[in-house]
Every structure is written in C-alpha cells, then in structure tokens.
Symmetry: C2
Subunit: 333 residues, 2 copies
C-alpha cells in the first residue's frame, strides 16, 4: 500500500487537522465527534445545510463547508458512514433557528444514521428535513444501498441549496430545491483501477491490466459491467448515453455538467472526457450552461471518472452562480 | 497503459478542446501552433505575462490563463518543450503595447526555445523580458536541466506577476517581482509511483512496491535518493528541512505555502502533509500567511507531492490576494 499517511487509524483526524490549519478562516474542525463547521456558524435566521458520509471522497463534504454551501459536514471513517452523534452535533452547531436540511447520499448506513440524528434533534425542538440523493443510473441496488446510489448530484445539490439558504429561503423551500436538483440530476461513473482503504491495506477489488469497470460506485462497488479498456470517446459515449436516456435529457434542455475525477486521474484526461461530452450534448441539442471539471467526489486514489448532468433553469442557474467561499469551491467572493 | 485517452497523438489537442469548451468565457484556444490565450487579449497598456512548457502538468499552465494571472500559455506535447513558434504566437497575441514577460521554468529546451522566440519578437519591436524559475532544491543538475529545475514556484510567480501586470506595473517592475518571487521561493517533490507518457506507453521509471523517490523532478527525473517508503510525517520533515535550510527561511518569516499533488494522490493525503508542514513551520517560528493545497503542477497520474515555500511580505501578499479568474484558480471575482 503506497500512501502519504502515517498510521491508518490517524488518516481522518490528521487530514482534518490539515483542513483546520489551511482553512481556519472558513471552517472550524471539532473532534469526538468529528465535524467540520462553518467558522461563523450558526448563522441566525438562516436554514442550516449539512451533509456527511465516509471520508475518502474529498473534497466532498468538508471541502464544501463555507459561505454559500454547507454549514457543516460529518466525516466518517474512510468509506464508513458517520455516526448519529456526529450528525446530531453538526445539526446543533448550525441551527440558527430556521431549521436544518440534511443532504444524505443514498447509502443504507448514512440514511439510517441521519434518520436517528434527525429524531434526536427534533426531540429537542430543532426542525430537520432530510433529502436523500440517488442519482446514479448505473444499478438499481448495490452493496450498501437499496435503490440507486447517491453520487455526483450531491455536490451540485450542496452548492445550490447552500445558495438558497443564503438567500433566506425557508426550510421547506430549500428542501424543495434539493429534491428538484436530485430529481433532475443523473450520474454514472467508471474506474480503470481500484483504490485501497488504508485500514484494509489491499485493493478493494481486483481488475485486470486491460479491464475497466463501467458504472462503478464511489466505494468500488460493482457497476454494470466489467469490460476491456475502451477509448475515452467510447467510455464517454457509454456513460453519457446511460445518463441522457434515463431522465431523459432532451433537445432544448440546459444542463449543468460535471466531469469528475475519481482521485487518481489527471486533469488532462478529464478535459478529454469533457471535450467528448460537450460534442455529444451539442449533437443532441442539450446546452451545457455551466460546468465543473476536476476532482469533487473522489474515491481515494482510484483512476476513473464520473459524469453528472443536472437539468437547469433560470432559478437553479442563478443559485449555482451565487457567491460561494469554501476550501474547494469559490467564486464571486 | 490505463488512461482515459483516445490516440496518444491526440491527447494534447483533445484536452485543449475540452478546455476551450469548458472555459470559453475565460480563454480561447488556438491551434497550430497551440496556444491558450486569455479571451480578451491583448489588454491594451498592460504587460502581457506568458508561460509554457510540456503538457502533462495540468492545470499548469493553461489552467492559469485569465484575468489576474497569465495572458497566454504554450502547451507542448506531453513532457516536451513547446516550440519557439508557439511562444512567438503567444507573445504577439498578448502584446498590448507594454511588453511581454516570459516566465520560463528552467529546463534546457524551454529556456532555449523561449530565447529564440524572444529574439524573433524583439526583432519585430515587441519588448520581451524572460525570467527563469529554478526553485527545486533537490538537485543541482538533472536530466534536461543545467542548474536547478523550475517547479512549484512557477505557479506562485504566475499568480503574483499576473496581479502586478493587472495593476499596470511596467515590464521591468513585473519582471523584478518575478525575480523576487523566484529568489525567495524553494520547492521539493517526491513520488510513490511513476507516471506513463502516453506516447511511450510504459512507466517513465521503475520503482519497487516499498520504495519512494525523494527529490523527484516533474518529469520523473531522478531526485536525491531512492529509499524505502516512510510515513507522511517523515516525508514532510525531509522535504521541509531541505527547503527551509536552503534559503534559509527563518524565525519571524511569513510564507505562502503550497502542498501540491502530483496528479494521482488524493486530497485526503495532501492535507495530512499540510498538517505536518504547518506544525514544522510553527515550531520554527515561520508563519504560513497563505496556502494552496491541491493539484497545481502535476506529473500526469504520478502519486506523490511537492512542497513550495515563498517568503512573502506586504507587497507579495497583496498581489497574491488580488482577484484572479482562471479555470483553475479563482477568487475575488
């Protein structure tokens, strides 16, 4: 196992220590339970927006804490759901009296623990609404998941809901926006290589030198099929076709498109994928109104990528364009 | 070779196509010769700032073209110096009548070709000054380089010189700022794995499962030594010590610190490195005034990282903080 780490059991805490040291102007990091909280939380009168999940997907979620995006994130152990006490602590830390939205990726452990945390907080008088993201078109059920997995749309939902909350929309409105983003978003991923969870010390799965996995999950869960390596254009076509036909996205639609790296794929390759995706969308009359190309929801050092499309409109695009200031995403400020 | 590419010979052009499609509001991409130019170039009365080098180090340099940073970048083939005609075309494209600064990383081919381009442009009446960066403390001479290699400080120099030019400093002033940044900057890198140049199809170098290379160059050139894998803290200490003792950086200094990923290393690990670097600097009384943690000057899919320190002052920090709007670096706008 080749990694820039110390002891496997210290990976999350020491990485959070780095986040705190690098971004103390934006976030504070609290330990036991571990949460990353916006430096000026709670913002009175604003809906709090939190998310969380296993570590190893950085910058998601801790890198998205700050003005205009998340109020807090709950980082679990690597590829392991955070605990209800993390989510409870985060909810309380960001409660400014207007309620708290939980954005939950659809993994069984995450959903269950966020539900427990919501009940605990509601019992103490904090209004909580949870929205579960489930945008991965690859498979219906998967390891750790009943129904579709929540993946890339979560990044876009966090940005857009954060902007909605910043505008002082109320909890129901922010939750409605989140559901709309999830409903209009679809994703799919693929991998060239496995990743290695530090505590496991060996690759999550085996894959041949000439193989790739289409439709892979962000923890290396099996996707649609294992096949021989294809060209970037062919890979992009397979993923784009699966995504576009699913909603479906149609001639005349405007979308926000994300080409996301899994952590070990260089940017030069992600732009080759984006180049082809743009051509495919153009040919179908789908206009890419906004885009993100880079590492946003990763799987440790896995080589591969994912594509996310979100059908957008004036409301969502304006919320997308609103100022954001987090460690990983920043504009307008 | 596992890569998200089509034909190896199309990697650079298709990746540039993706950049143009994704960032057409910020840059335009011209082909034959290939250059990435700020969308509103030339900016009349402003010093033009350009750089360039082999592709495979993205986002450097094309990702740094835009308001407040580079006016143009010249992407060569992967790990291959751009040609003089690219540099000449870029210089002419950004000449707004106030002269053009060439920021050149110290590699023999880059230096030679930028010199030829400067002569051609000067013969046509464009004032050109070149500043060569050579911040890598690892080795004195290396493959492709006489003297120290130019690495991470180039990113910081491009940001700071871009801001200086935006403030309408004149060519000599911007060049002086660039020399100051280079003089006060030091870097060192390391790798856990090799990378594979697409056209070569096999790893640039062999490295054992339990080995790492300390002081590696951004093309995989040999560094100071090959040794058994160490912990993140030990690796950070080795690199930080080599950097800090070289300038030397002293008690009371303020620095801009960059922890840079080589392309295949996940963010969770880079923050572990930053966490330790921050502790080392604190213990020595060196204050990290600003920081960058992420992939900025990469080596394709290589796993590893580099550290860059720049001794800063009010002038440099203000230029660092000035607005920038490029594909890869954005703030204040």
């Amino acid at each position: 196992m080749k990694k820039l780490i110390n002891k496997p059991e210290d990976v999350v805490a020491q990485s959070l220590g780095g986040v705190a040291a690098a971004h103390g102007d934006l976030v504070k990091v609290l330990y036991n339970p571990n949460i990353v909280v916006r430096a000026d939380a709670p913002v009175q009168g604003k809906v709090g927006v939190i998310s969380g999940g296993g570590s190893g997907h950085e910058p998601m979620h801790g890198g998205f804490v700050g003005m205009g995006m998340l109020d807090a994130a709950c980082p679990g152990d690597v590829f392991t759901s955070p605990t209800p006490d993390q989510m409870e602590a985060a909810t309380k830390a960001v409660n400014g009296g207007a309620g708290v939205l939980h954005i939950v990726k659809n993994y069984t452990g995450d959903v269950m623990n966020f539900e427990m945390a919501a009940e605990l907080c509601q019992a103490e008088g904090i209004e909580v609404v949870a929205v579960v993201t489930n945008d991965d078109v690859a498979v219906q059920d998967s390891l750790y998941t009943a129904g579709r997995r929540g993946v890339g749309i979560t990044v876009l939902a966090e940005k857009i809901c954060g902007a909605a909350a910043e505008k002082r929309m109320n909890l129901q409105q922010v939750a409605d926006i989140c559901r709309k983003v999830n409903d209009q978003g679809r994703s799919m991923g693929m991998a060239l290589t496995s990743c290695t969870v530090p505590a496991a010390g060996k690759p999550t799965f085996d894959i041949g030198d000439n193989e790739m996995e289409i439709g892979i999950g962000i923890h290396g869960e099996p996707g649609r099929k294992r096949m021989n390596l294809q060209s970037a254009d062919e890979i992009t076509e397979m993923m784009a076709e699966a995504i576009i036909s699913d909603l479906p996205y149609k001639n005349g639609d405007s979308v926000i498109a994300m080409v996301n790296g899994m952590g070990g794929t260089p940017l030069i390759e992600l732009y080759i994928i984006y180049n082809k995706l743009n051509q495919i969308c153009q040919a179908k009359g789908i206009k890419i109104a906004r885009n993100l190309v880079g590492n946003y929801i990763t799987s440790l050092e896995m080589q591969g990528c994912s594509i996310t499309l979100l059908k957008t409109d004036d409301e969502l695009t304006a919320l997308w364009d609103a100022p954001v200031h987090t460690p990983a995403l920043r504009w307008g400020v």
